[in-house]
Subunit: 376 residues, 2 copies
């Protein structure tokens, strides 16, 4: 898996690049729609490809492992064959979901024991098993099995947790190095920097992660409730250490504003459920600002959702019609808003890339942050 | 609104025709997808047009009147402009929904007083107001305001109800004759035959409805719980009386088998929530028979939903993937199954039409009824 750095912004740490994978090129900065259970919610695969023009989507190892299960994914020839998505897939390690189970999981040196949220059945994830599972899913990018610390988090816990995360990383690397890709295409491991909101831990972790010399590097444990300034500070600290010739992935981030600010800090890859989850609740991200479509003010606004953005969902349907659908709990409302928001996120990072390539990113970013975070 | 009779089957009462409307031609027999609140559930308008190739959809007056409301529909320029559907729209009269409110409605000579299921607010529908509402929705085909009797229904009640339905029809006809189309296109009234399961009442009603000499005629009050044989008997009785040079619409019917049998009795138009509602529960109608996708037997069946049927949803997605989505309550499951089922219904009536035109309908129908009603 090769990463080509195409351009660097002079007034910020923003970069434009291309990540070459067996399932196609990914132009960075990139936003990756989240397909938790093998489906980006309310969006057809052809809509992802043609309307949203996504270059990579996410799958969640925890969900896919429980349902449909690894046997079926193996039989299908991997998730690509199972759901028909032909471009790259990144899978998380399942760690984040498992830790969210709080009552129903136990962390030990070997790994994590947890109970399924579906049927209460007991399972164990280890660094080794999670590498094997992601190989069986057929992920192009495999995430290391880490512990994602919550916020707030005591320094002592963060330090202890980081030690385990690093130990587990070595086991992940070893497992990846001693196993073969499951379906013939390259499967690259991305290690994950942790360290909560502690600068020294983040630095220490970034150094360690960089030393693993994998194909890309990720930052986890942010966007878990800490103030935005703290998230930016930690991202900045880590980006300065992570190698410039590898893509940097900030996990679970975020709002359009977060994404623009973190591109400026040197992040290349993002994922977040926000555009789809908020879509289902009627929150639209547009080129003019944020629209709560349930608001009375859109009741008889027959103008398209976002003419500037373009595309089917955003120009064919009106605000008044979408409000009617969302209030009436019509499934089509979720479908329209999801395509719209993902198209907007795609536009945002694509435009950021264009600005980086033309050397105008920093000024554009400062102006755009105000626009995309304004409530209309 | 002109109806051209293209062919008549020699071995049954089946007919093929074309209903010419201001928003395009409708080739009959036709199945009309139901768009209750201005959206065919889980289906984009472009999917209705390009994948399902629907020639007409339904809207429900009761739902549209309550939400988004007639003021907004008027402002938009009618439902066509509001939801972007450019082909014909038929609206029911709201009667069926209002009667379903049982506790919350009262029938009197003037009309029906009812309480909204949304906010409990009180409303009155009269034959006149319902004609005006359907004009404001911009329906190409307006249904008469009738009383849809339940099953079972005492003879005495059915007879009394029929009298009111006929009185109301005269008021509907009078209102339509003394008002103008709201948006410049023709809006044709279809009266509705009632009479429960009583042959003499059905005959009497069919005679009366035929005497109104409108552009098409409908049969209501069937498919409300009575045995299929009774439904076929009543349909047969009525079809023999309704004029052959006008389209005949059997309301709320039904299964693929019901549709084939009623085409054979002389019905031209159908509507039913079954293909979309059952889709959301995982029931698929296919060219090979009925599939309950939740069944264990489809768990690892990686074959397409229905290769013979063709089309995106039915050939791109596998049975195993759809089972996974439906069981996981993923919205995409409802989307895929809805497009598939509507595509199947469209194929069924289109194929019936082809068989009528080529003089082979009766034998094809007898064979096809067995196939489409088999449980796989």
């Amino acid at each position: 898996m090769k990463y080509t750095l195409s351009a660097k912004d002079l007034k910020s740490a923003a970069r434009a690049g291309i990540l070459h994978t067996a399932h196609g090129d990914i132009h960075t900065p990139v936003f990756m729609p989240v397909g938790t259970a093998g489906s980006v919610k309310a969006v057809h695969q052809r809509e992802l490809e043609h309307d949203i023009q996504a270059e990579i989507i996410l799958g969640n190892t925890y969900h896919l492992y429980l349902r449909p299960g690894i046997d079926l994914l193996e039989k299908a020839g991997g998730l690509h064959k199972f759901n028909g998505w032909k471009k790259p897939i990144l899978t998380d390690s399942g760690g984040y979901q498992v830790y969210s189970l709080s009552e129903n999981r136990k962390i030990h040196d070997e790994g994590v024991t947890f109970k399924s949220h579906i049927d209460g059945s007991k399972h164990v994830f280890t660094p080794e098993s999670v590498m094997d599972i992601q190989r069986s899913i057929g992920a192009d990018i495999i995430m290391a099995f880490d512990e994602c610390t919550p916020y707030p988090c005591e320094y002592s816990y963060a330090k202890k947790s980081l030690k385990i995360t690093h130990q587990w990383l070595e086991r992940c690397v070893n497992r990846i190095n001693t196993t073969e890709p499951r379906f013939g295409h390259e499967q690259a491991l991305f290690p994950i920097v942790q360290g909560s909101v502690y600068k020294d831990l983040r630095e220490q972790s970034a150094e360690f992660i960089a030393s693993q010399n994998q194909h890309g590097n990720a930052i986890g444990g942010l966007s878990v409730g800490e103030p935005h300034d703290m998230m930016y500070e930690m991202t900045d600290v880590v980006c300065k250490i992570l190698p410039a010739d590898k893509p940097r992935y900030l996990m679970g981030v975020g709002t359009p504003e977060n994404i623009l600010e973190c591109i400026a800090l040197g992040i290349d890859m993002f994922d977040c459920v926000m555009p789809t989850r908020n879509a289902r609740n009627g929150m639209l991200f547009t080129t003019q600002g944020i629209v709560n479509i349930r608001n009375e003010k859109w009741k008889d606004d027959l103008s398209p959702l976002d003419e500037t953005l373009g595309g089917y969902a955003s120009t064919f349907y009106s605000k008044a019609y979408l409000q009617h659908l969302i209030i009436s709990k019509e499934i089509l409302g979720a479908q329209i808003a999801s395509i719209h928001n993902l198209t907007f996120y795609r536009w945002l990072v694509k435009e950021a890339r264009r600005q980086i390539l033309s050397g105008t990113f920093a000024a554009w970013k400062n102006a755009m942050v105000k626009i995309v975070s304004a409530r209309l």
